[in-house]
């Protein structure tokens, strides 16, 4: 065994050496024409790259040019502010020593940066900056002029809430970050940006609240992100699959949300948020299993109602997981457990059905999965056709043709509705898959197989971790202080502490004085007028 490990470590060294690539970027030239030639050749003379020469700018004694990408920049800013101020300003009196000095005081634009090598220059150009070149300087200035068309803020299409904000994230990372900043107006809300993706150079931003989030978790996140070396990041799901603790599981170990208020709430519990440019889904971690059963309006409703709803969601989870499996096990192996009258009814229905109940269930479940998939892919205009076909095929026709029994239709329908009612798509989709495994185990070994399957499932869930936090906490390991916000939701005033696994030292989230609201004045506050009738 030791020799095996040695080999492994040597292998690791080799790959590490390979990855050390020369990242020295070539510097810019002093000659303007040479610089512009590099740009046109490197971008393959792309038509959306605009090079505007400013021959007689009073600002610069020599020739100059600005370069920007059409569509990514805000045309108004470039034309009205940048070009105008460069063309119309007063002539310089003395020779400036650097470009920065020359430009900075005269351009009414926010972010200015001096660029000296091509790699950073192209990165700035491609993200929508405008680059200013001046002949005779081996540097260029980039000004922030990002703009262009974007989707406006809309109501989130997933994770709808009855009572809660109507804002949903968009594809622009700046907009998304600002939406969270608007909710948490505190300087301790820290962000860190890095670019990931060799080709796509996608901006990825970590956001956390300094002092609440645990530093070791943030450090670990940073390390995991740094290790990612892939071509493209097209959605936050790409990042998710590279920073998971365990990839061999059907359960999501990171949460994604489209709602700024959910992100803000999670940041306040000590989690981090990960914004990926181009994705309206923000990743949140570390997560626990029970989080997937929570919804934002749990916290705005009265706690009795929220608790009841949460218990309902757990029930929904179990129905969508073992609904058909239980029916199969009961009808195939354990008929004695069904009450006699019901058993007679089921037997009468099944008399004309040629299949065992397992085959029957598989037929119905697969049909349903096909319909569901079709419903997502179909153009909206013919979407209603699917529901008609589905209702007829799944419903009446199949029963009348004697392919499946009516009881099976009920079971599949309940299961389907249950899986739609699960608040998180991530969990709903994993239960969809596991449901088939449970059906197989029920068909081969009845309740014995199902219970064994359930034990394996629980053991697997208990073994998962998300950024070191046990997945089943605070249920297992049991943390009494955190139980207030799990399958039950205690009153907000009783929820004094943040989840202990996420937040390090800073645990209290309520002042000592804030307790159960019991205003003493309530009774005497409104006194009856003397003249009022009893």
């Amino acid at each position: 065994m030791p020799s095996f490990f040695k080999k492994k470590s040597q292998k690791g060294k080799k790959t590490a050496e390979k990855q050390k690539k020369p990242a020295v970027s070539s510097p810019l030239s002093e000659v303007l024409e040479e610089n512009l030639a590099v740009i046109t050749s490197k971008t393959g003379n792309s038509t959306d790259i605009i090079i505007r020469r400013l021959k007689h700018s009073p600002r610069f004694k020599t020739e100059s040019a600005i370069v920007y990408l059409k569509g990514l920049t805000d045309t108004q800013t470039v034309q009205e502010i940048l070009i105008e101020s460069l063309m119309k300003s007063d002539p310089v009196e003395q020779e400036p020593s650097s470009m920065q000095e020359m430009v900075e005081g005269y351009l009414p634009l926010g972010i200015m940066e001096s660029l000296k090598d091509w790699e950073t220059l192209f990165q700035a150009l491609m993200s929508g900056h405008t680059i200013i070149f001046v002949d005779g300087f081996s540097e260029a200035m980039s000004t922030s002029t990002e703009g262009g068309e974007q989707r406006s803020i809309e109501e989130p299409s997933t994770q709808r809430a009855i009572r809660g904000s109507r804002e949903g994230f968009t594809e622009s990372i700046e907009t998304n970050i600002s939406m969270v900043r608007r909710i948490i107006q505190n300087p301790t809300l820290w962000t860190e940006t890095m670019t990931i993706g060799r080709v796509t150079k996608t901006k990825v931003t970590i956001m956390y609240i300094k002092g609440i989030a645990r530093d070791d978790i943030i450090e670990e996140l940073r390390n995991r992100l740094k290790k990612i070396d892939i071509d493209s990041v097209l959605e936050s799901g790409y990042i998710e699959q590279y920073i998971e603790d365990q990839s061999l599981t059907v359960f999501p170990t990171l949460y994604h949300s489209e709602r700024p208020d959910v992100v803000a709430g999670n940041l306040l519990e000590g989690r981090f948020a990960l914004f990926v440019n181009g994705s309206p889904f923000v990743l949140l971690g570390p997560v626990v299993f029970i989080q997937f059963f929570q919804s934002i309006e749990d916290y705005t409703e009265r706690f009795y109602i929220s608790t009841a709803l949460r218990l309902l969601r757990v029930l929904i989870f179990f129905i969508s997981l073992i609904g058909p499996a239980t029916y199969i096990a009961a009808t195939t192996f354990h008929q004695e457990m069904i009450p006699t009258q019901l058993l007679v009814a089921i037997a009468a229905q099944r008399e004309s059905v040629p299949f065992p109940s397992f085959v029957e269930a598989i037929i119905m479940e697969v049909t349903f999965e096909i319909l569901r998939e079709a419903g997502i892919r179909m153009p909206k205009a013919i979407g209603s056709a699917i529901s008609i076909v589905g209702a007829l095929v799944i419903g009446q026709a199949a029963v009348q043709a004697g392919v499946v029994s009516a009881a099976m239709v009920i079971i599949v329908a309940i299961t389907a509705i249950a899986s739609f009612a699960t608040p998180s798509f991530g969990i709903a989709i994993s239960t969809r898959l596991l449901r088939f495994l449970f059906m197989i185990s029920a068909a081969t070994f009845g309740f014995y197989g199902m219970i064994l399957g359930f034990i394996i499932l629980v053991v697997h869930l208990c073994g998962l971790r998300s950024f070191g936090v046990p997945y089943m906490s605070p249920l297992a390991p049991f943390v009494p202080a955190d139980i207030n916000d799990t399958v039950i939701r205690g009153p907000l005033w009783a929820d004094r502490k943040r989840p202990s696994f996420m937040s390090g030292q800073n645990q209290l989230r309520q002042g000592e004085e804030t307790g159960r609201p019991e205003p003493d004045k309530s009774r005497q506050m409104v006194t009856k007028n003397e003249g009022d009738a009893q």
Binding site: M1, H334, I456, A476, P477
Partner: protein
């Protein structure tokens, strides 16, 4: 030893599930007729005494597995061989429980399924869980404890609503005096299930808060003893002594008497769940102890590598240990308690404690003087 820590509550959950494991299903101490519950409570007191022996041993060597402190107490060679005997004992008990469990499952639900298949499935699940380590096993225990007690609570309520409990079945108390009670206690309930707590000596060093171990042990033994006694009281008061004695699975017969509103009846699934979950935890604890101990004796790292081979041994042993179920039961009643349980659970630990006490007293005198 694994690098893992478990909390006091997790240990408590494991102790409880382990104790209830298979004891819940059989007619425990029925030789004492309607006084079986007294026998169980007496066995519990005996179990507490045995637990104290284990606990004192643990106090002498709080950071060591028993396989290590056996070597410290008895010397390297002798200690290792005794430790190995203990591991064989664990494997044997795991196989016994597995056989019990498989046979029970087949008799009442899957008559035509071969025993080998039922046992293989079970051992696969167990081995998978054991290879995940004690932390995962402990967390699973926590979740299932709530689940089992939820089932138990609802079961008791349903039994009450069915109106079948007749407490006269428990009378007369002490019909034949204390003698048969003491006899059954000494011959049965002390060892099974309480003496089997010796497995937990292999798990005590994992506890995060060493101070709590005494309370966890006492509390665990008492709660499990009371639960078992309660179940036996319910069994006897519903079925009567005669039926409880003759029934293969008194708990199943009890559950089958549930009849509420002509709808909630034949809740055999309660029994199936109790049987499988209990069997799972009992066998898993024995196998875990065997795996971690064997890995420690032969310095195998990581220990989880041993779980598959040991699981295979347990599986084969469970098939070959007896040629029929009656033979298996006969062995369990007349041979195992005297030849295995008595020396391994009581005589060895007490002797060890004596030697350890003597050795450490000398050390202390040297240290202070």
């Amino acid at each position: 030893m694994e690098k893992a820590k478990i909390t006091a509550y997790q240990l408590f959950a494991l102790v409880l599930l382990f104790e209830l494991g298979s004891a819940l299903l059989v007619a425990l101490g029925i030789e004492a007729k309607q006084d079986a519950w007294i026998v169980i409570l007496l066995g519990m007191i005996g179990g507490l005494l045995i637990f104290f022996v284990f606990y004192r041993l643990y106090c002498f060597y709080p950071d060591c597995l028993p396989t290590e402190y056996l070597q410290k107490i008895m010397g390297k060679g002798l200690g290792k061989s005794v430790a190995f005997l203990y591991m064989l004992y664990n494997v044997y008990l795991a196989a016994r429980v597995l056989r019990d469990f498989g046979a029970m499952l087949l008799t009442f639900a899957y008559i035509e399924t071969p025993l080998f298949i039922a046992n293989t499935l079970m051992i696969l699940v167990i081995v998978y869980s054991v290879s995940k380590g004690i932390e995962v096993l402990a967390r699973t225990g926590e979740l299932f404890l709530v689940f089992i007690y939820f089932l138990a609570g609802s079961g008791v309520l349903l039994v009450l609503f069915s109106g079948v409990i007749d407490l006269h079945n428990l009378q007369p108390v002490l019909e034949n005096g204390w003698k048969p009670i003491i006899k059954t206690t000494v011959r049965e309930t002390i060892y099974f299930p309480f003496g089997e707590l010796i497995v937990f000596t292999m798990i005590m060093p994992y506890l995060r808060d060493a101070k709590k171990i005494r309370n966890v042990g006492i509390f665990g033994v008492i709660v499990s003893g009371i639960s078992l006694a309660l179940v036996m009281v319910i069994n006897i008061s519903i079925l009567g002594v005669d039926l409880t004695e003759r029934s293969q699975f008194p708990l199943l017969s009890t559950i089958q008497t549930i009849q509420v509103a002509d709808f909630l009846e034949r809740l055999d699934v309660y029994f199936v769940i109790a049987l499988i979950v209990g069997g799972f935890f009992k066998v898993a604890m024995f196998i875990y102890a065997a795996v971690i101990g064997t890995a420690n004796i032969f310095t195998v790292t990581p220990p989880s590598r041993l779980s598959y081979p040991i699981g295979l041994v347990v599986l084969i042993l469970s098939m070959t240990m007896a040629s029929s179920f009656p033979e298996h039961l006969k062995e369990g009643v007349s041979i195992v308690p005297l030849l295995l349980h008595l020396p391994f659970q009581i005589i060895f630990p007490v002797l060890l404690l004596g030697v350890a006490y003597w050795k450490n007293r000398k050390h202390k005198k040297q240290g202070t003087g």
